[in-house]
């Protein structure tokens, strides 16, 4: 029978000890976890809070899109083709007479959802690879590193373009392909962190008492790499958003009539002179969302990972 770390600790704690009296005293004063302290510091980070406010506004707009939109996003009004912003159409209309504000609001859903899905996929591919490479080291590490170097030799946008051109465009393909070409930072960051964690006493002790690798990876390594990866997630979201938009702008990502910001911007390109609003507003929406993520990401990094720069 293998003795796991938790059962031993539990039986130890259950014994009444002399330290109990001191513990009682300490418990009387409010104890804050590291997590609470970090959150408190994040709340005082002015730039991060500004970014968070901006993002919350966009998230709320995305959630309430069907109720906030003055018109259905696909409704064409052929009497008002490329109409300038007015009281009737606050941000104007596009080439098919569709209300831009309604399309922008629905576009926020697509932008946020695709970014979240892609980052989750990157996390799911990158983090396990990094954990395994950093923990087992040796040949496995070399193999993972080489694979990461190979994928990272291509600028994500360019490789994604090449692959999407081959497999075909569309929302699903775009998300999968972008994730497959840009998981590398998650692997690198996780691997570096695991390499140093591996040398720490609590991991060495677990190895010494014969815990299985699975157990150590899940109970000791995984919880300790989460904050570093949280920082990376916030900083990756804006990059992903820009890549999706760029791909759609070039016509290889999300296809019209889906109200994707990059695709909408591209539809307005031929009318830049006479109807500049068609391209201007979707771009502004992308910019604001990305600025929001970057402001928040900076704050999250300052608070959780002050020594890290990437």
């Amino acid at each position: 029978m293998t003795i796991s770390a938790s059962t031993t600790t539990k039986s130890y704690v259950a014994q009444p000890t002399r330290a109990d009296a001191t513990d009682q005293l300490l418990l009387a004063t409010p104890v804050r976890s590291q997590w609470q302290i970090d959150l408190q510091r994040l709340r005082r980070h002015r730039a991060a809070m500004a970014g968070l406010m901006l993002l919350l506004t966009i998230v709320i707009a995305a959630c309430l899109a069907p109720w906030l939109s003055p018109y259905p996003y696909e409704a064409q009004n052929l009497d008002f083709i490329r109409a300038a912003p007015s009281a009737q159409f606050p941000l104007g209309t596009d080439s098919l007479g569709r209300d831009l504000l309604s399309r922008l609001l629905h576009g926020a859903r697509i932008a946020l959802l695709t970014a979240l899905v892609v980052v989750t996929l990157e996390f799911a591919v990158g983090v396990p690879l990094g954990m395994v490479a950093g923990y087992y080291r040796g040949r496995l590490d070399v193999a993972v590193n080489t694979l990461a170097d190979v994928v990272w030799a291509f600028p994500p946008l360019v490789l994604a373009l090449g692959v999407v051109a081959a497999v075909g465009p569309g929302l699903f393909n775009t998300m999968v392909v972008i994730a497959l070409v840009s998981w590398v930072p998650f692997t690198r960051v996780t691997r570096a962190k695991v390499l140093s964690l591996r040398q720490r006493d609590f991991v060495q002790a677990s190895m010494a008492i014969g815990c299985t690798d699975r157990w150590i990876l899940r109970r000791h390594i995984l919880p300790n790499i989460l904050t570093t990866n949280l920082v990376l997630v916030t900083l990756t979201l804006p990059t992903v958003l820009l890549t999706v938009a760029a791909l759609s702008f070039l016509g290889f990502g999300v296809q019209p009539p889906t109200p994707e910001w990059g695709a909408m911007l591209s539809e307005g390109r031929p009318y830049l002179q006479n109807a500049p609003w068609i391209s201007t507003f979707p771009g502004l929406a992308i910019l604001l969302t990305v600025v929001g993520f970057n402001l928040l990401g900076d704050g999250v990094r300052d608070v959780f990972d002050p020594k890290q720069t990437w």
């Binding site: 170097d149 360019v158 490789l159 702008f249 591209s266 391209s279 910019l287």
Partner: protein, 306 residues
């Protein structure tokens, strides 16, 4: 140094092999028969089979890969399906335009970025610092395609100061170069600021100040020289992003170059050209990374060549 170089080069070999494997594999991702998409839809089955044998596409794929790799190593990147000309020749023709664009934007972005970063760090927490720090976030959050369109709209269509596309007219380079340079400027300014602040906090800076070194020398020789090392590395690491950015920017401004060649090849599903470009771009990334590592070792005598 020599040993380090050799070691570093050896590590690049499997990476480059992997790169060729990915580029080769892209062809197999296309649904349908590659020969069918190439020939006249009315061609008979015998004719299609004939072409397949002629191109070696009837062979098992490891053999196809090795043959293809052999040709690539000899500098033969295949023939463009639409232009019916060697891919290497097409790339060689467009390369000077891309170099002109990327180098110009590189110079603009680097000079502006370093200057702004140094000013922000030297005047830390001042009005200037806040202005620079916040506008840099703004600049590097900018989607390149939108920035390009806005510059066209403002300077090309409204003010009529610059041509809006093409490459022949005077000043046609300005807008595309700025579109590539401004986001770079933003990220660089931030990095330079952070690095400078770190160096300014070092003990040897205090010593230099105590000795009465003139402020200009203090910042230039003592601080910037040390802060610039990670910056130099970043400049090399930015090469692939710059090349990736050209696909969008060259397309918007109708600037001839590798990026636009890539876009057109993608539209026409001209996969030999796409593959050739991917190879060139990935190869230059690997070289840039190598140069970045070497620069670190050369600039920072504290690093032991492990």
């Amino acid at each position: 140094m020599q040993q380090y170089l050799v070691q570093r080069l050896l590590v690049s070999v499997p990476v480059l092999l992997g790169v060729t494997a990915i580029v080769f594999a892209i062809l197999f991702l296309t649904p349908g028969d590659p020969v069918r998409t190439m020939v006249d839809p009315r061609a008979t089955e015998e004719r299609v089979q004939e072409i397949r044998v002629q191109l070696g596409l009837d062979r098992p794929w490891p053999e196809q890969y090795l043959r293809w790799l052999g040709r690539v190593l000899r500098g033969d990147l295949g023939v463009s399906i639409t232009a019916k000309r060697p891919v290497a020749q097409l790339i060689a023709e467009q390369l000077p335009f891309t170099l002109r664009l990327t180098l110009t934007s590189f110079v603009i972005g680097t000079l502006l970025g370093i200057t702004l970063g140094v000013v922000a760090a030297v005047k830390q927490s001042s009005w200037w610092d806040h202005l620079i720090t916040y506008t840099s976030i703004f600049w590097f959050s900018m989607p390149g395609f939108w920035l390009g369109l806005m510059l066209i709209l403002i300077f090309g269509l409204w003010l009529r100061w610059t041509p809006i596309s093409g490459y022949r007219e005077n000043g046609a380079l300005i807008l595309p170069a700025l579109t590539l340079a401004l986001p770079q400027m933003g990220s660089l300014a931030r990095l330079v600021r952070t690095e400078m602040l770190e160096v300014l906090g070092e003990e040897y800076m205090k010593t230099a100040r105590a000795k009465g070194v003139r402020p200009f020398l203090l910042f230039y020789r003592h601080a910037l020289r040390n802060a610039i090392i990670p910056v130099a590395v970043l400049l090399f690491l930015n090469v692939p992003w710059l090349l990736g950015g050209t696909v969008v920017i060259e397309t918007i401004f109708a600037w001839p170059g590798l990026g636009r060649l890539m876009y057109q090849a993608l539209l026409q599903k001209d996969f030999p050209v796409v593959q050739g470009l991917l190879l060139i771009i990935a190869f230059s990334t690997v070289v840039a990374n190598l140069l970045g590592d070497i620069t670190t070792v050369l600039l920072d005598p504290r690093i032991e060549q492990a």
